[in-house]
């Protein structure tokens, strides 16, 4: 428990992170940046988990466990995503998301 810091502050931080992530996801054109934005979203969620766990159920560990899972899955996802991005680059000579619409056809 950190003195003078309530759960609201944590939530404000995580909400700001979340919307920064959303903004990046929607606006940025580079796939790598989009991936980074997704990581921001995931981590904002992690903050929520940890904060709620700390303030609401200090005796339990579920929130920590979930956030650990999320970190692990995010790592796996990043690996897969980067592999895809590499292949996209090879096939389409670029990673600008506006040009990646061949599945439409």
């Amino acid at each position: 428990m950190i003195e003078g810091v309530g759960v609201t502050e944590f939530l404000v931080v995580s909400t700001i992170m979340f919307f920064i992530g959303i903004y990046g996801f929607v606006v940025r054109k580079n796939l790598i940046t989009i991936l980074m934005s997704v990581e921001l979203i995931l981590n904002s969620v992690n903050i929520n988990f940890v904060a709620f766990n700390k303030y609401l159920y200090p005796d339990l560990l579920q929130g920590y466990m979930i956030s650990l899972f999320v970190i692990g899955i995010a790592a796996a996802e990043a690996a897969v995503a980067i592999a895809i991005i590499l292949n996209v680059y090879r096939n389409l000579q670029g990673i600008d998301i506006e040009h990646i619409n061949t599945m439409k056809h």
Partner: protein
């Protein structure tokens, strides 16, 4: 001692083999050889039939004053379940033996005759294959042990008739005629089938003997169930009679028979004069015990239809100019006689005279009508035309045909001592005993018959010579042989004491000529002949004057009372326009339309919405997030 009639099965068997051999290998054999195979098969059948007839009628059939029914074979053919078994077998009783004799005799003569008539025709072996098929089916029909076997062979004769009418399949009129015959008889057979099903539904059997056994409780039961004013049994028998009426060209299902004359003339003689068209009479005779004992109302309708048809057809025959069509209408008229005779018959003893007379007339009619057709065939062979107007004075060129044709014409006109006199006399006696109206109708028809037959005779063989392309020549020996044979038969079969052999309850009785009926009937026949002689013996305009004096009646008769037109009108205007067209409209617009509409809607919707799938990931994400935000705001502010 048990008598063995098991050899009868060889008659149809040999014909079937002949059909298969000639039908399958006919094009590899010489035409004459194919013809010879088929002819030998039917001659063998004829010998066996005669043997069976002699054995049955003269020595073995009569036991204790009653003719026995033998069933040498009865195989289970289709077993659906225990109570529904269809059998095929051979049934020997007086009328089946008589029909065997008729069918094999006429068929043999037609086979022989066709050697001359069909010589050099394309499809000679095909013709003989069809003849074998027909004879096989017809024999299967007459020896049927149960009504379903009869129905199967009934359809087979229908098919062979179709094939033979359409024998000249390059001729559109022949094709149309064969289709017409098939469709009309098929329509009638639908009634036959429904009748069989109703009958067997109540009685649980197809077997003739079981159906006819006197103490059949199911039959008595059926007479007790009433449906629309008649017992169920009467309905069943009427529906069965509808099949018979279709095959036997009874009004109003007769329209196919005149057109069926498109077939080769020997076929008309065999199928459309002597054998197949009397199948309807045979059918009613076969079930006669049911009709007469349990459904007199149905039998009365049979009589009425028969009487009406005989008059109706005779009136048409008077004005027709195609010689085969005259004979076709005369056939209808004579079958009407047979139906009437069945209709007025009783069951026991001398009351069964109508039944006997009907079978007798069937027998004699087969002989003289086949002879008339074959004679007409010889005439057509000589002058290459069917039209009466193209003939005249042929007695000098065709002496044998002339004499035999004259014998047959006298026979059908009821002049003694030829066969037709005896059988027609019995029919008239039976009608006289039952209903005066029927008697006088048939008496008048006898006069009409004599008139139109002699109109035909004088027009062909007397009158003036026409400009023939080449001098008409007498038919070859094979044709003359058949003519002479049948002429002899026509002259002698009338003396067979038929009531000794054929009676409804299988007990023979004696009959004699009733002169009080015979003399008026001979008189009207002679009058008919004399009128025909006055009008047609010498070329005079009197006949045309009479026709011109009554243009309406003449036209009515010439156009066959417009029955064909009525059929066309009914089918086109009523059935097509009021039933078929609305159904077609419904099918096209509603059934197809709803399916097409679904496809159209899917197409349109996808057309409008395919822009949403841009492939732009960020657009998707934006929409999704906007949706989530919107949903969150909705939940937060609206639901709370």
């Amino acid at each position: 001692m048990q008598i063995d009639f098991s050899y009868v099965i060889w008659i149809p068997a040999v014909l079937l083999v002949s059909f298969l051999v000639v039908g399958l290998f006919g094009d590899k054999l010489k035409p004459m050889l194919s013809g010879a195979i088929a002819t030998l098969a039917i001659l063998l059948g004829m010998v066996l039939s005669y043997t069976a007839a002699f054995q049955y009628f003269l020595s073995k059939g009569l036991v204790d004053g009653t003719y026995q029914t033998f069933i040498p074979q009865n195989w289970e053919w289709l077993t659906f379940y225990d109570t529904l078994v269809i059998k095929l077998g051979v049934m020997i009783d007086p009328i089946s033996i008589m029909m065997l004799v008729v069918v094999t005799t006429i068929s043999s003569m037609v086979h022989i005759y066709s050697f001359g008539y069909m010589k050099g025709e394309k499809g000679f072996e095909r013709f003989y294959a069809y003849l074998s098929l027909f004879s096989f089916s017809m024999i299967g029909l007459v020896i049927a042990t149960n009504i379903f076997q009869m129905y199967i062979f009934w359809e087979l004769v229908g098919v062979s008739s179709f094939l033979l009418i359409g024998f000249y399949y390059t001729k559109p009129s022949a094709v149309a005629a064969s289709k017409k015959a098939f469709i009309v008889t098929r329509f009638a057979d639908f009634g036959f089938l429904v009748g069989i099903l109703v009958l067997s539904y109540y009685t649980k059997t197809f077997d003739f003997q079981e159906l006819m056994s006197p103490g059949n409780a199911a039959i008595t039961n059926m007479t007790g169930i009433s449906f629309m004013g008649m017992s169920v049994l009467s309905w069943a028998l009427l529906l069965i009679f509808m099949g018979g009426a279709g095959k036997s060209a009874m009004f109003p299902l007769h329209i196919w028979l005149p057109d069926a004359m498109e077939g080769p003339t020997p076929v008309s003689a065999l199928i459309h004069a002597a054998t197949m068209v009397v199948a309807g009479v045979y059918l009613v005779a076969r079930l006669f015990g049911l009709y007469v004992l349990h459904a007199p109302d149905a039998l009365a309708i049979v009589a009425g239809v028969g009487a009406f048809t005989s008059l109706f057809a005779a009136l048409i025959a008077v004005t027709q100019t195609d010689i085969k069509r005259v004979l076709a209408f005369s056939t209808m008229s004579q079958i009407g006689y047979m139906m009437l005779a069945l209709g007025v018959s009783g069951y026991v003893g001398a009351e069964g005279l109508g039944f006997t007379a009907s079978m007798f007339h069937l027998f004699t009619h087969a002989m003289f009508k086949a002879l008339l057709f074959l004679g007409a065939g010889a005439v057509i062979h000589a002058v290459h035309s069917n039209e009466m107007g193209d003939m005249g004075g042929l007695r000098k060129y065709l002496p044998i045909t002339h004499i035999t044709f004259l014998i047959a014409a006298l026979a059908i006109s009821g002049i003694p001592p030829f066969a037709g006199f005896f059988s027609k006399d019995e029919i008239l006696v039976a009608a006289y005993a039952s209903n005066q109206l029927y008697f006088w109708t048939e008496w008048a028809v006898a006069g009409l018959t004599a008139f139109y037959m002699f109109r035909l005779y004088f027009n062909i063989f007397w009158g003036t010579d026409r400009d023939y392309e080449h001098k008409p020549h007498e038919a070859p020996f094979s044709m003359s042989f058949a003519l002479i044979f049948l002429a002899i038969m026509t002259s002698i079969v009338g003396f067979i004491p038929f009531s000794q052999y054929v009676s409804p309850n299988l007990v023979p009785f004696t009959t004699h000529i009733h002169w009080n009926v015979a003399i008026p009937s001979i008189a009207i026949g002679v009058v008919g002949i004399l009128v025909a002689a006055i009008l047609y013996l010498k070329p005079k305009a009197t006949a045309d004057k009479i026709a011109n004096a009554m243009p309406g009646l003449y036209k009515l008769s010439l156009r066959k009372f417009y029955i064909d037109e009525i059929y066309v009108w009914v089918t086109h205007s009523i059935i097509f326009n009021s039933i078929a067209r609305p159904i077609a409209w419904f099918d096209k617009k509603v059934v197809d339309g709803s399916m097409d509409g679904m496809a159209w809607i899917t197409n349109k919707v996808s057309d409008k919405t395919k822009g949403l799938q841009s492939g732009q990931l960020q657009q998707y994400a934006f929409v999704m997030i906007a949706g989530v935000v919107g949903l969150a705001l909705f939940i937060l502010y609206y639901l709370n």
